[in-house]
């Protein structure tokens, strides 16, 4: 179940940000999403926030929370599990 969510979130990241050259296997579970990891930026964060709210009902209000949540797909999955208002 936990692996399903991590896999789902990787697909969500790829689809939301239209990362055409990236597959879910390319994204390390505990690799950094921003900066020197996957290389996402602050505008990407805004897009992901919208997609996560739509898909899982979770709200990430600002970069202070985002810094912790978006550290890796694993931290993102943990946050979604804790806060999700959807099934």
């Amino acid at each position: 179940m936990a692996d399903d969510l991590v896999g789902e979130l990787k697909k969500l990241i790829i689809e939301t940000l239209k990362l055409e050259e990236i597959t879910p296997e390319d994204i390390e579970d505990d690799g950094h999403l921003f900066g020197d990891g996957l290389g996402l930026d602050s505008i990407d964060a805004l897009e992901l926030v919208v997609a996560l709210e739509k898909g899982y009902g979770v709200v990430i209000p600002d970069s202070e929370v985002g810094e912790r949540v978006f550290r890796s797909v694993i931290t993102l999955a943990q946050f979604v599990r804790e806060k999700s208002t959807t099934k």
Partner: protein, 145 residues
């Protein structure tokens, strides 16, 4: 595209050694249009700061079609997209007034920060309420200033 319109005239200092407006000045013209529109709704930078926010530009595009020349009268048309995320995107068109020729077009995106540098991922309710009249204005059928 619904827009607000401002008029300027090309100045001597805006023209380069080839006799056409230097490309960097178009960005300043975008700002003229943006400020003219935002002033109508008390959304100038100082108004944002008073609410506790700043809105830095994070993305900027300009497409150059035809050159502008000294003394030409220029129309700056400014619009803003209704946000789907916590960012404001303005669109611009620069036209020659004499013949309506499109000289340049562009787009600029701003994100929202608190005064202590925290980036907002959700547009706060107080700012949403301040922005709504701006979006309503641009939805009016006759939106030219």
């Amino acid at each position: 595209m619904k827009y607000d319109e401002t008029e300027i005239k090309v100045r001597f200092n805006e023209v380069d050694s080839w006799g056409i407006v230097w490309h960097g000045h178009y960005i300043a013209w975008f700002e003229v249009g943006r400020m003219a529109l935002l002033k109508k709704f008390h959304l100038l930078p100082q108004d944002f700061t008073q609410m506790g926010y700043i809105a830095p530009v994070v993305d900027l595009k300009c497409f150059f079609k035809e050159p502008a020349r000294m003394e030409e009268e220029i129309l700056i048309r400014t619009s803003v997209l209704k946000p789907t995320k916590a960012a404001l995107t303005f669109r611009f068109q620069i036209l020659r007034k004499k013949d309506g020729k499109l000289l340049a077009s562009g787009e600029e995106t701003q994100v929202l920060l608190t005064l202590d540098g925290r980036m907002l991922y959700i547009i706060p309710q107080d700012l949403r309420e301040r922005l709504q009249p701006l979006f309503n204005y641009l939805e009016e059928p006759d939106s030219a200033a």
